[in-house]
């Protein structure tokens, strides 16, 4: 039997496929379709300090092999999350990665402090890259200094206990330098990639279709961008664990991200079309790895980077 376990920093997971933040709500909703115990972990919808209504509707538009969303981080806020959602997940024996999002460096630190003492959390994903906030200038992940400051604050607030996974946006000129910055500031791993900034215009109303005008593109359309981002960052920092995501909807897709350098893979948009996607992908991946002679998942991580064998000619 192949060893499918993986690690992200100090966190160990028996299985390599995770939900993607914002694509499994708080986990409960999927329990009818997948066994939450049997997947890597539930990555929660990004939690903010206070409750938020999010954006007006329409919040989504389907595009060719993708969708654009602008949810605007609707959620109940951290206190309600810790009081209700987290205990439910722990009770139901799900591993949990809590995703946090803030509007200021301070808000991230406050969130991290609240998580520090909460039981049952395997890691913290820091969403510094949500493209849905009103002012694009405020996207932390597009600014090397701001992203370092966020991670720095979270690191201090959390202490050394929980691994920090910094989630980055692909909408930058130099992804590797942003990645280096957050790792230097104390992140243990990276989540790649968040959605790509995009827009759909409704040709009947002849205006942007989403109430939030721009939104984030996800789904199979962006998989080649995700593979490139993971490959680039793994090339530059082969020891930094990467939680890969972006358009994965089959075991073949997951394998592609793992070969590029991902130690684990989150499945987002695919769950919308198929709520049992996470489990199905995990099973398909295991089969593909076995068929290629791997005896553990970790052998395949970054395998596409191996040095060319001596030519036989």
């Amino acid at each position: 039997m192949i060893d499918m376990s993986t690690t992200l920093g100090t966190a160990w997971f028996a299985h390599p496929i995770f939900t993607a933040s914002g694509c499994a709500s708080s986990g409960k909703e999927l329990a009818q379709f997948i066994n939450l115990e049997d997947i890597g972990a539930v990555v929660t919808k990004s939690v903010m300090n206070k409750a938020r209504h999010g954006r007006p509707t329409p919040r989504m538009a389907e595009t060719a092999s993708g969708m654009v969303n602008s949810i605007g981080l609707q959620g109940p806020g951290i206190d309600s999350f810790l009081a209700n959602d987290l205990p439910w997940l722990v009770e139901n024996r799900a591993r949990v990665i809590v995703s946090i999002a803030g509007e200021t460096v301070e808000e991230y630190a406050v969130l991290a402090r609240k998580l520090r003492s909460a039981p049952g959390i395997s890691a913290v994903e820091v969403n510094i890259s949500c493209p849905n906030v009103e002012n694009r200038g405020l996207v932390f992940a597009c600014d090397p200094d701001a992203s370092r400051n966020v991670i720095d604050g979270v690191r201090r607030a959390l202490g050394g206990e929980l691994p920090i996974i910094a989630k980055l946006s692909p909408d930058v000129t130099d992804l590797v330098s942003i990645a280096r910055g957050v790792i230097d500031s104390g992140a243990d791993g990276l989540a790649l990639i968040n959605t790509v900034l995009a827009m759909v215009i409704n040709i009947d109303s002849m205006r942007p279709h989403l109430a939030g005008k721009t939104g984030g593109l996800s789904g199979p359309a962006i998989k080649p961008i995700a593979v490139r981002a993971i490959y680039q960052v793994h090339s530059a920092m082969p020891k930094v664990p990467i939680l890969g995501m972006g358009g994965v909807s089959s075991g073949r897709d997951a394998l592609e991200l793992i070969l590029a350098g991902a130690s684990g893979v989150s499945v987002g948009t695919a769950s919308f079309g198929n709520p049992s996607a996470v489990t199905q992908i995990q099973n398909e991946l295991q089969f593909l790895l076995e068929a290629r002679g791997f005896t553990s998942l970790t052998q395949a991580v970054g395998y596409a980077h191996r040095i060319e064998e001596a030519s036989t000619s």
Binding site: S25, Q32, F33, G54, R55, M60, I71, P76, W88, G273
Partner: protein, 282 residues
């Protein structure tokens, strides 16, 4: 375990028949035992476009009626308007085609425990779930009146068998091509004033549901409406389908119409905020 999506099953039904009816297609699916958990108001979410499609999201359709009696076992009827690429694909399926579906999803119409006077109001294909509902209400001894409206006659869906389940059926079209001319909402105020109705069940365009809510306001008529917001997942995980709804304390939050709906209490939906968000944070 979670109670959300409790009865939902991922199934691969076969298309038993597909007939054009006016501007709609009546599609019957061989869904098996899952019908026993289907209630009027629930919906089905269907994958469209086939194996190599670029359409990645499911499409939602109200369950029009279910039957357990036939030789085929449980069947489910849908009324589908060929609207965009996904629904057109569904309407183009031949008998025998296999599809991928999840059902039953969402909330159902509440059924009164004692006999009441019920008015069922449907707009366009919104009449689909009302005939199944009418049968249930009838079996509970309710009086069932039905008003159906559409812009034109070919958009009225009112099958023969369905008519048997209602006491009266009135049809309104904006162009007068079928039934009476005008909007389905026009006569409701008078009915309420006459005390002739206890519960209104509605399904149709958001504008119609909103108009009924205004008319009902101030009366003690209960208004249960099936809302329709664009859905990406249908199972509560994406947060795209939200509607502003007040709770018992008057605090409005954005509720998911796929799991907290589609059937909602019309008096709690904040119609003026649909497509907006509440000013104050919850």
């Amino acid at each position: 375990m979670s109670a959300i999506n409790k009865f939902a099953e991922q199934i691969r039904p076969i298309v038993v028949s597909n007939k054009r009816v006016g501007q709609y297609h009546q599609i019957i699916l061989n869904v098996g035992d899952v019908v026993t958990n289907c209630r009027p108001g629930n919906f089905i979410a269907i994958n469209v476009g086939g194996e190599s499609t670029r359409m990645i999201l499911r499409r939602a359709f109200a369950i029009s009626r279910v039957s357990t009696s036939g030789v085929l076992g449980g069947t489910m009827e849908l009324i589908v308007a060929p609207h965009g690429q996904g629904s057109r694909w569904l309407c183009s399926l031949q008998e025998g085609a296999e599809i991928d579906a999840i059902t039953p999803l969402g909330s159902a119409f509440g059924i009164p425990t004692s006999p009441v006077n019920a008015l069922l109001v449907g707009g366009g294909y919104g009449s689909a779930p009302l005939f199944g509902l009418a049968e249930v209400l009838k079996s509970r001894g309710c009086r069932v009146d039905m008003y159906l409206g559409a812009s034109t006659g070919s958009k009225i869906y009112a099958p023969m068998e369905g008519k048997r389940a209602v006491n009266t059926l009135r049809i309104y079209t904006e162009d007068g091509s079928m039934g009476e001319i005008g909007r389905v909402t026009a006569p409701i105020a008078q009915l309420i004033a006459e005390g002739a109705v206890d519960v209104i069940y509605s399904c149709g365009p958001m504008g119609m549901l909103s108009a009924i809510s205004s008319i009902v306001k101030g009366s003690d008529v209960v208004h249960q409406c099936a809302v329709e917001e664009s859905m990406a997942c249908g199972v509560g995980i994406c947060m795209t389908c939200v509607i502003p709804v007040a709770d018992e304390f008057g605090v409005t939050t954005m509720k998911r119409s796929c799991i907290d709906g589609p059937v909602m209490d019309g008096s709690l939906v904040q119609w003026n905020l649909v497509g907006k968000i509440p000013e104050v944070t919850p």
